[in-house]
């Protein structure tokens, strides 16, 4: 018999006990239903948190609802949540962690195009799926990303069509300084050149910039018919407050924003945004049978004061679309899900959605709205039927050369 010291004996005893208990637990879960892990990767801190936390909330709501209805393939969904912290390299790092360490079946995440561009190589190298819920500048169709937000021909181009129709042809471009506004403005300039609209100014401010007096001065001296606004994050609050402060109302110089939704209007203040235009595919006021239920569920979960908006709806819908694809494929295996996702349809709060298998975007209806005095948005125009997504703008002759 080996002579063990008292300490060693205790250690041996503890280790054996731990292994026995731990091993016992492992055996217990294997026999039951193994949950499917899904990753949720959004900025829960930093300047983009003001927009992204709500999308993360919506995705969790969808997971809860799906679990209550029995889960996917009979298994419950288990969310693994990570914080991108409004820092793009962190998004790539956390994506890698979710895929490799947590072995998630899919990741729902991102907001800024910068975060998506940072994550794209990770998902393509690891052959894992990302569901990206925000409107963006297009010119991309990664085989490993599903885009549930609008492509430019479903948001920016209809907005430009609307402005042209309304006779607002002198356009001032204002955006945050990163890939989405810069690319979006290239698209706008190409459209303007082909459609007789004049670009009277183009200004970029860094993300997180909050001093807009010079910009407001420049807008005033340029006297545009409309400001096409691609600012993101806290900058929108500062800009609209200071714009209104300078005595400019929506009647004097209207703005058309593509990154300001009901959620952002809360922080900006409805009195600063009343009468201004926004372009999206979904508003809290959108009149579809599914939407009333969705708004009620969301507000029951997160508070009456919390509005729903387009990215919230797109995040929510992304989870459901993925779940449907998995049910159709019979497995969570990535290539099978991708194949099964082609043509999947969903009765969504924003209308009837269908995944376009060619580019992994979805058919969406374009809607233009006006911000109300109470902060919600009234629709003033919509495209009638859902628009087929065209991220590379191949169907528009004036967009030739942009995808290069």
């Amino acid at each position: 018999m080996i002579c063990l010291s008292r300490g060693r004996r205790l250690l041996l005893l503890f280790t054996t006990l731990a292994l026995a208990l731990g091993g016992g637990q492992a055996v217990a879960t294997e026999g039951g239903e193994d949950p499917i892990k899904v990753g949720i990767l959004h900025s829960l801190s930093g300047t983009m948190a003001i927009s992204e936390v709500a999308v993360h909330d919506a995705e969790l709501l969808a997971i809860e609802e799906i679990n209550a209805a029995g889960g996917v393939l009979g298994r419950q969904l288990e969310p693994v949540i990570e914080d991108g912290a409004s820092d793009w390299p962190t998004f790539a790092e956390k994506a890698s962690k979710l895929i490799n360490e947590d072995q998630v079946a899919v990741v729902f995440g991102g907001w800024t195009s910068a975060s998506r561009k940072a994550m794209l190589p990770v998902f393509e190298a690891e052959r894992a799926l990302l569901w990206y819920p925000v409107q963006y500048e297009g010119l991309e169709a990664s085989p490993y990303i599903f885009y549930t937000g609008a492509a430019p021909n479903q948001q920016i181009v209809p907005a430009l069509d609307y402005l042209k129709e309304q006779g607002l042809t002198r356009v001032f471009l204002l955006g945050s300084d990163y890939v989405f506004p810069r690319t979006a403005n290239q698209i706008i300039k190409a459209y303007a050149a082909a459609n007789g609209m004049e670009i009277v100014g183009e200004e970029y401010t860094p993300l997180g910039h909050v001093e807009y007096s010079s910009v407001v001065n420049k807008v005033q001296s340029a006297s545009p018919d409309v400001v096409f606004n691609t600012l993101n994050g806290d900058s929108n609050v500062a800009f609209f407050k200071q714009f209104r402060d300078a005595g400019i109302t929506a009647e004097d110089i209207p703005t058309m924003s593509v990154s300001v939704a009901e959620q952002e209007v809360v922080g900006i203040g409805a009195e600063n945004m009343a009468g201004h235009l926004v372009a999206w595919n979904y508003f809290q006021t959108t009149d579809t049978p599914r939407n009333e239920e969705f708004v009620a569920d969301y507000q029951a979960a997160y508070g009456d004061g919390n509005p729903t908006d387009d990215p919230i709806e797109a995040g929510y819908v992304g989870v459901y679309l993925w779940a449907q694809a998995v049910e159709k494929a019979g497995t969570t295996e990535v290539e099978a899900v991708k194949e099964a996702a082609k043509g999947v349809t969903l009765e969504a709060p924003g209308g009837e959605y269908q995944i376009d298998g060619e580019n992994q975007h979805i058919y969406k209806t374009a809607r233009i709205g006006v911000v109300r005095d109470d902060g919600l948005i009234d629709e003033v125009w919509n495209s009638g039927e859902a628009i087929k997504p065209d991220p590379f703008l191949t169907t528009y002759p004036w967009a030739e050369g942009l995808a290069g």
Binding site: L44, S45, G46, T47, A49, I50, S51, E52, V53, A54, S86, D177, E203, Y204, T205, P206, G208, H209, V210, E211, S213, S214, V215, N217, K218, Q220, S221, D234, V237, A238, K241, Q242, D245, A246, G247, Q263, E264, V266, G267, I268, G269, E271
Partner: protein, 294 residues
């Protein structure tokens, strides 16, 4: 006329905001050599105080006016608490205080996120600050004029305090030569405490003023902290006059350059100018000349 008035007013307004956020910092940094990275969060505390008062009191105007003294006291108390518990243990170790206060800043940001939510909250502009002064085709917003007024008043009160009041004299003594001041019977720990209270309280009031212009959210501090340090370092630590002139210089330079180029270019140019200044005068525009050995 408007083409000159617009950038000049913009420059003055930007300078006023810079001075507002930097005033508190110049004293805590100068007096105690404490690099307070949580200064931005003290500004945030002031901003959230405005939001809280406006959501509990029936009149947003009254709530806003009340927020000025309440934020002053609240932020001051928060800063004093920070000084008593953490910073005084790290006296004489500037790099350690930098790290420690950076950690406090992250804690406070997350606290705000947990209590108020990650989304921005709204504060209403008081009705007496609606609109602006019409000068030709320009409208100079009343809110910006009010901020200018607030800054002028604050600087006036501060200069009187420093020049005339006994506390001011003691503060100057500690600033010039801490050891000699101690030897002559000045309670340096008390002076430190009052200075930190004052610096933090000024940050709180700045937060109330800034709700007129910008977002109110957990990341509020991060938008202003870098500019605050820029003004303090360019102006010289602990120097009121230095801070005023540095803020004016930076604000006007920023406005003038942004008028003809872009915001990013103006920011870069301002940084370059400050770096150039520090090459020539590393101690900033003004400094204390003393015979202290340290």
């Amino acid at each position: 006329m408007e083409s000159i008035l617009a950038p000049v007013f913009t420059g003055l307004s930007v300078s006023a905001v810079l001075l507002l956020i930097a005033l508190g910092l110049t004293f805590t940094f100068g007096q105690m050599n404490v690099i307070n990275m949580a200064h931005g969060e003290l500004i945030m505390a002031g901003a959230y105080t405005t939001y809280l008062l406006q959501s509990t009191l029936p009149s947003p105007d009254v709530a806003y006016l009340l927020a000025l003294p309440v934020a002053f006291v609240l932020a001051g108390a928060l800063g004093l608490g920070l000084e008593r518990t953490l910073i005084r243990r790290l006296y004489g170790r500037p790099l350690d205080t930098l790290l420690a206060t950076w950690g406090i800043s992250l804690l406070l940001q997350q606290f705000a996120r947990d209590v108020f939510g990650a989304a921005n909250v709204q504060a209403q502009r008081p009705s007496f600050l609606d609109g602006g002064l019409e000068v030709g085709s320009l409208t100079l917003p009343w809110s910006r004029i009010a901020i200018l007024g607030l800054v002028v008043a604050t600087v006036a009160v501060l200069s009187v305090t420093i020049a005339r009041l006994p506390y001011g004299r003691r503060m100057r003594a500690v600033l010039q030569n801490r050891q000699l001041a101690e030897v002559t019977g000045v309670r340096t720990d008390r002076v430190d405490g009052i200075t930190f209270f004052m610096g933090s309280a000024l940050a709180g009031t700045a937060g109330v003023a800034l709700t007129l212009l910008g977002p109110i959210g957990p990341s509020l501090g991060t938008f202003y902290i870098v500019d605050a340090f820029l003004v303090v370092i360019a102006g010289g630590l602990g120097h009121l006059r230095g801070a005023v002139i540095a803020a004016l210089g930076i604000g006007m330079l920023n406005a003038v350059i942004e008028q003809t180029t872009q915001a990013s270019v103006a920011k870069a140019a301002v940084f370059a100018a400050v770096i150039a200044l520090l090459q020539v005068r590393p101690q900033g525009l003004f400094s204390h000349r003393s015979r202290a050995l340290v």
